[in-house]
Amino acid sequence: MSTLVTDRHDLAAGARAMAPWLFGIVPFGLVIGLSAARADIPTLAGWLTGPLILAGSAQIAMIEMLDAGATPVVVVVAALVINLRLIFYSATMARYWRGTPWWWRLVAAYLIIDPSFAVGMDGYGRPVDRRRGHAYYLGGAALMWVAWVAAISLGATLGAGLPAWLHLEFVIPLFLLGEAVTKLRDPALRRAIFAAAAVAVLALAAPLHLGIVLAIVAGIAAGLTAQPRPRPSRQLAEVAP
């Protein structure tokens, strides 16, 4: 009985730790829902990327590329390249989940993404027993999941009813532009961003929409040529799923 009470307490504590992240999660989810409704794919398919892929950058890239008519293999490759960071989050969580039941690992792994990773690490970093860390992670991740799927649903519902003169197809390029501009201060990221943008424009006519994948690879290569700066801890790539 006392374990259940502790679990509930830790679940709530994890959810509370996730609350500030909702400021990033909800607007991003709304933008993805809007784009799913406007894109030239079934809205349900765009919405399904939420619960199935649970990774905003990859979702938005997929919806954009599918809308532009990119070749299926290229879309999948782009999404997986964007999600490569999940392998590192997986490696970090592995040490906390060693010896846990399989069902827990299968569920907890599904919920790994930038905000849940950050909240989870916060929970496991506290000097309490690991089981309470699991409840803390689950509480944060569950709130994130509900907010993410709800925001995408709301965006998709609103997007379907809005008139064409609003040019909502321009919301995503502007959103992506804004996100890229906020990262220009870091010299290595700046190189990556300019190289990727330049290659994307130059390769606009590339067959199969391979230009986007080429541009991502060029951006990574350009970023790696910059001097690495020492960083105090692992930096999260995103502030939302």
Binding site: E64, F170, F175, V181
Partner: protein
Amino acid sequence: MTVWIVILAAAAGSYLFRLSMIVLADRYTLPPALERATGFVAPAAFAALAAAGIATACVGVGATQAAAPLAALAVAVIAVLRTGSGYAAILAGMPVLWIATALLPS
């Protein structure tokens, strides 16, 4: 049909990434260079998609039709640089796009 398969394939791949090291951590370690590279993926992808999206809106149309998205782009960049928030690009860029589209002859 293809759209559903693409989404399912990306979902399966992403789930395998999430599960990968939880299953394999005892046997493999990841090279630090790869970890550093992953930090550049999302900004590079965002920049590439934004550039391609805006360029597509401007290529093959008349100068007056390209002017509206370019004006929105310029205002969006300034808004983000001034506020430090990525969402300022939408909040400032979209009204400029609407006004410019309404004012400019199509």
